[in-house]
Symmetry: C2
Subunit: 304 residues, 2 copies
């Protein structure tokens, strides 16, 4: 069965739009996200445009701050400082990657963790690891939400995660191995967690054997067809986080998007599987909207 990220994300957007509309009826201003983009990386520009569009659809205010690739680290840090202090901004993201002369670590740490809707600040990462309330990185949050909305239990399941990035693999492992955090928002994935998680990566030996023991496999390695049918047990759940371009002369743009899973051969063995595109991708943007709404509410509560 296909885990339809597009449809699920649309449902989340509707829920958020309804909530924003209610907030406005109460005379409150809508949540306001700022997006900082540096340079003209085409992929980044597409991501940012999609995020802005999603914000507008649900009634958020959104402000884009576009800086040239020649911006200095100091200038970018000043922008971050102003956004931290700007009371009209609830949350903001600095789209990665940044030009090489700018330290992503330094910029990420400079963001006020309370406005860090990407959940990448060490303080938020630490809270997530400790199993305490935090802003959770968008992609793992979206995957958890997708599992929750399809009512796929994780308790006691063997979960294998392939890829140990700071934005997907590591926080995904932290979320799924925790005792469930009871104060999660109502519609969210409160019943998840309690999984036995194995985190695999480039140094892992005998990946196939490890995957064959998995009830749920989450692949975030950035490598087309990394997960093949011989690595998947019957009935497994497969979540594909990869977004890779492969040449395809039959497509007008000359390429098509594929994930990290050999979808056509793996899908028949799965109880559930996410497609690429239309699986994890839309959920990631939905998570960003949820995070923005969360920090907005937290700020209002602080003030009232």
């Amino acid at each position: 069965m296909i885990l339809d990220g597009r449809q699920t994300a649309a449902q989340i957007r509707e829920e958020i739009a309804a909530e924003v509309s209610q907030l406005k009826q109460q005379g409150l201003r809508p949540p306001h996200l700022a997006v900082v983009i540096v340079g003209h990386n085409p992929a980044s520009e597409t991501y940012v445009a999609n995020k802005e569009k999603a914000c507008r659809q649900v009634g958020f205010d959104v402000t884009r701050i576009a800086l040239e690739a020649s911006v200095t680290e100091k200038e970018l840090l000043d922008v971050v400082g102003r956004l931290n202090d700007d009371d009209s901004i609830d949350g903001f993201i600095v789209q990665l990657p940044l030009p090489e002369h700018i330290s992503e670590e330094k910029v990420t740490r400079a963001i006020d963790y309370r406005k860090d809707v990407d959940g990448l600040h060490p303080y938020n990462v630490g809270l997530t690891a400790l199993g305490q309330r935090s802003v959770v990185s968008a992609t793992p949050k979206g995957i958890r939400e997708l599992l929750a909305r399809y009512r796929i239990p994780t308790e006691g399941k063997n979960v294998v995660i392939i890829g140990r990035s700071n934005i997907v693999g590591k926080p995904m492992a932290m979320l799924l191995m925790q005792k469930p955090y009871l104060q999660l928002p109502k519609m969210s994935a409160s019943a998840l967690g309690n999984a036995t998680v194995t985190l695999c990566h480039s140094k892992t030996r005998d990946l196939k054997k490890i995957c064959l023991g998995a009830d749920i496999i989450i692949v975030a390695a950035g490598q087309p067809s990394l997960l093949t049918a011989d690595m998947v047990s019957d009935g497994a759940v497969v979540i594909d986080v990869g977004i890779n371009r492969v040449e395809d002369a039959t497509q007008a743009r000359g390429y098509r998007l594929v994930g990290d899973v050999d979808f056509s051969n793996v899908a028949p063995k799965c109880s559930y599987i996410t497609p690429v595109p239309g699986g994890v991708g839309p959920m990631t943007i939905a998570s960003l909207l949820q995070n923005t709404l969360q920090v907005y509410k937290d700020r209002l509560a602080v003030k009232s």
Copy 2:
């Protein structure tokens, strides 16, 4: 072969003592640790006394701040605030557990992360998870050091951790699955990491099967004889973090200390194993000394 934590810790203390003596010869004051203890929990008092003794042995200054169990949360937070501001204190710990009327979360978060030598502040936990330079929680840091000093490689090894506590299981998983952090201190565990880590806990199914696939098993569950010989493959490395009291009429004090491993039956199968006592315990205190020296040096560098 026995992994002798007592001897290894003694060696680390000698190295630190030599470094402190050199610092003093340069006219610098020694590192200064403060220890806050609340109430009269006998185990806590023993731990604190051991930490103080270890500090004095290596030439650190150490100050104990003993508060009654009736102290309010506000009063304790005020003490934390004063220690944060006190320029003569390099680092401090608040011995856990705290009385029930005080939030450990709140107190831990109130500590300046730069003085958090227990490595429990969310900011330090986050840095550890992200694979960035941090103050690492003492027990997992000590285990990594023990593995390093016995030259036990972890790259590509299957590591099974039993227990998902915030002070042992989770940070241990983070350390061992990382790409090695290259700027670790010279004698430290720079070659470690790159393991395939599985984190197990009370909800894990078929723990035996998972353990049988492990090259290294780290048990931190607080349950005597949890790990039995039938769960361990020949040649495995076993690290026992448990410290449990079991009744023993043959002992003057009426009990003896045992770990989480059925030592006498498991040891013959292992390539390496830690005893209890004399394994992980002494390494934990050695890590606290290393952390105190680290934050001391960081502070001096900031000032000079």
